[in-house]
Amino acid sequence: MTPSISARIDSMVQAMGDIVLPSIDENNNLAREQAQLVIAHLNLMKQQFAYADAFDRIELANAVQLGQQLLELTTADPGVADDRPALEAAISAGQSLPDRQDALRAVNGATEAFIRALRQRGERRSIDAMTRAVLALAQEQSHRNLVWFASNGFDADRDSLPSIESLFA
């Protein structure tokens, strides 16, 4: 029997809220704000942790999809012919990395480098197609992140966002 992550987070939030925060000098605004942020972070992590692996999986699939789309869109563009193997290799290797965050970094890094190469050496038609593809997938990704971090309260439209659970339905 081990305490669940949820129970451990709850106990930390309670300790911070009931013991630590009230003991901070009321004139020490910075310390109070930092303590409140720790509580808010913990509450958000509690919401997210059960879905964290699924979230990373979607992010990686999204990144691989974008890399593959860019390769398809530029098949006939001689300007980036020499840049294609690096992106192809990163997509292939990235999918086999055990850590999804590392994999995401590898694929997105290669994609970012490919986009910069395309901007410098590619044909206008390829560049425009790339921009459309990146923006379309970025819109999906942004929406997912807005939902994932809705409780941070930065999005003025957060009340109209669906629940975190809905991302994985």
């Binding site: 974008l66 819109q139 003025a156």
Partner: protein, 387 residues
């Protein structure tokens, strides 16, 4: 660092290049330990003593100020031998910040605008950190709040501040009056030697902003993000000409000015560190950013929490006599989104993961707001300029 394949030199102002270079040198220094108030008091005491006419003064009541996601700030009292006192604020760089900027630039801007809009009077500067160990400046303390007592709310760093319906109209008019005054200021007659004047190329103003934030992304990004180079490319394809160079505050919004609740006036415009010579559309576009506003009681979106977007654009044009070009405004809205994504998803995250800021927990809390800007960029480019 994100790998760059850029084969062209990025054109960043010399004084900003120095600040970026200092940031990169600091990166190897390891985690930053925030200064204790006792340590700051000792440093301030010796610093104040060096200033002309202050050899017999003493420093008391040093207290760290909250807020300030970018720089560390402390208020303190300088006591004269006759017992009279001045309250002041020390503003100093942590090892890494959300934005790497120079204190000389900020000092010069605040000094230049002291007679134009309400600005804390700047007194002393430690430009290269010779005394404090990190660049710092001192200014007079100004009474005021960023949010009136009892106002509904807002997020950290003054984002999304809701001043409440009873304050909006008064503050909105003052807010615009000061913005117009900043843009009307004849910067050519002021000592702004730390600012590089754009050259005669009408596209230089826009290109230099793209270059500045691209340089920052290449240096600071922790995790690659394909949206960034794609948007950089869109910006380079859509640069507007700038027929009139004005002084831009560049972070002008609710949360970055103080309100004197008794006088019901804006008592100080703060945070001049991103200021530069540019296009007035940039400041107007910045104000309209989604993250700075909120929905009002009827569900209408208020830019910077003060008024509907169209009202702000109309009033700015009436008060300034300038015409807002929808296409240029659209470009700068995308640029402001790009810049903020770089600051939040790049620099703030970098500062936090390297543990080089005094508020790492705030930085990691703020990183997700980069997605609000990313979403806005996609929407803006897809929609095109408003009619």
């Amino acid at each position: 660092m994100v790998q760059s394949l850029a084969n062209f030199a990025l054109d960043v102002e010399p004084s900003l290049t120095e600040s970026l270079a200092l940031k990169m040198r600091n990166r190897s220094a390891g985690p930053y330990k925030p200064r204790h108030e006792d340590e700051v008091q000792t440093l301030l005491h010796s610093f104040v003593h060096k200033q002309e006419g202050y050899a017999a003064h003493r420093v008391e009541n040093v207290a760290r100020l909250s807020g300030g996601a970018s720089k560390e700030q402390f208020r303190f009292d300088v006591i004269a031998p006759d017992g009279s006192s001045e309250r002041m604020v020390l503003r100093m760089d942590p090892l890494a910040s959300t934005v790497a900027t120079g204190r000389l630039r900020e000092f010069q801007a605040m000094r230049a605008f002291g007679q134009v809009v309400p600005v804390p009077r700047v007194t002393w500067l430690d430009e290269d950190g010779a005394h404090f160990g990190t660049p710092a400046m001192v200014a007079a303390f100004v009474r005021g709040v960023t949010k009136p007592a009892g106002a509904p709310g807002g997020n950290v760093a003054g984002l999304g501040t809701n001043v409440g319906p009873e304050w909006r109209e008064e503050l909105g008019e003052q807010f615009l009056k000061h913005l117009v005054a900043i843009h009307d200021f004849d910067w050519r007659k002021a000592d702004l030697s730390a600012y590089a004047v754009p050259d005669a190329d009408p596209y230089h103003v826009a290109r230099r902003q793209i270059d500045w934030w691209t340089q920052v992304w290449l240096e600071d990004a922790v995790d690659p993000e394909p949206l960034i180079p794609a948007v950089e490319g869109w910006l380079r394809d859509n640069m507007p000409a700038c027929p009139e160079i004005v002084f831009c505050h560049s972070d002008y919004r609710t949360g970055n000015f103080l309100i004197d609740e008794e006088q019901r006036q804006i008592s100080a415009v703060l945070d001049w560190e991103l200021a530069h010579l540019g296009d007035f559309h940039e400041d107007v576009a910045w104000v309209t950013g989604k993250i700075f506003g909120h929905l009002d009681e009827s569900g209408e979106f208020l830019v910077t929490g003060l008024m509907p977007r169209q009202q702000l654009l109309d009033r700015y044009m009436q008060m300034s006599g300038r015409t807002i070009d929808p296409k240029t405004l659209h470009f700068y809205e995308v640029l402001c989104g790009y810049k903020t994504c770089v600051i939040i998803l790049g620099s703030a995250y970098r500062a936090a993961v390297e543990a080089q800021n005094h508020q790492n927990v705030l930085q990691t809390w703020m990183v997700p707001c980069g997605h609000v800007f990313a979403s806005e960029i996609c929407r803006l480019i897809d929609k095109g300029p408003s009619a």
